[in-house]
Symmetry: C2
Subunit: 170 residues, 2 copies
DNA sequence: TTGAATGCAAAGGATTTGCAGAGGC
DNA sequence: GCCTCTGCAAATCCTTTGCATTCAA
């Protein structure tokens, strides 16, 4: 390989269906309904690639009373459905549930900057192998894993001032 | 090495001070006081080597009204102090904060069985190297990491019936 | 038409905080 | 005696739930 894989931005994976199509299949297979709220949330979630929590998703949506509004309980319920449907992955950071694209996106892990709270994605085949090897050694059937490497990112080491966000764009 | 390091139970690390001595140093250096509650909790926490959360620690202590009782807020406050003092490490599992020995115990990671909720420790130098290499590639200053590999443990694969606990002994 | 989904309000669980009294140093 | 620590009660934060109404199929 000529370029370092850890510095190549993660590339989308080839998938047969759009997230919308895949979610429709999921809904139909379970006798669930294709409601306006589910369409709004799916569009919002797949409109940009980033990490977000329920609050941040709510902030991107119209306020109460306006058209396109979705209530907080419905946001929580629907995020759970997206995870079930294999569209999103969820993990916990500083006590909040954080979501990221799963469908159409490769397996990866994160560097987490404790100064600016930015998440940086990286992909490592060696980690997958390591994890599987440890599993074999313990006769443990591996389903998945979650690695978060905490430290200080390049920007913060250089002393750059930047807005501190709860969870940053990549 | 003749034995597989992943199957050798993790061995304590040589340390100069007992946890009690180290915590006393920590308290003195900050002008904090050596109270009975702190002594009770430190003894309880280092009396056995396992993973536990605040509730489980409370369950091991005398009830309200009895001698040796420590209130819930004090348990939470003191666990935070133990983490600050480098005695315990904390991580989040299924929405609860779980604590484990840090002082006098080697860096390690966990296999987490989603059936019986048991935690199995393993140590991997290759993981440390991998994590440091990824950090270098991104000019990211690594402080620490947390890897949890989820799956099904040996016992559960064999279909053994066992009590399902919130967080099991190792 | 009919059962599923929504929004509201309220509950829930884990953890934290304000404060008055207790207790190290 | 001073100032920290504790226990109590209440608050907080994030998330979930019960229920009457709305709405997709």
């Amino acid at each position: 390989m000529s370029t370092d894989p850890d510095l190549t931005p993660l590339q989308p994976v080839q998938v047969a269906l759009t997230p919308q199509e895949r979610f429709n299949d999921y809904l139909q297979s379970r006798g669930m309904r294709n409601t306006e709220q589910r369409r709004i949330l799916l569009d919002c979630v797949f409109h940009q690639h980033d990490h977000f929590d329920a609050d941040q998703l709510l902030e991107r949506l119209p306020n109460k009373g306006q058209s396109g509004y979705v209530s907080r309980p419905t946001v929580y319920r629907t995020l759970g459905e997206f995870v079930d449907a294999g569209l999103l992955r969820k993990f916990v950071l500083d006590g909040r549930s954080v979501y990221e694209h799963d469908y159409g996106y490769p397996q990866h892990d994160h560097l987490y900057c404790s100064k600016c709270e930015k998440l940086i994605e990286f992909q490592s085949d060696a980690l997958i192998k390591l994890r599987d090897d440890v599993g074999k050694t313990h006769n443990f059937q591996v389903r998945n894993h979650r690695l978060i490497v905490t430290g200080v990112c390049d920007d913060c080491r250089r002393g750059r001032r930047r807005v501190r966000r709860k969870v940053d764009l990549i």
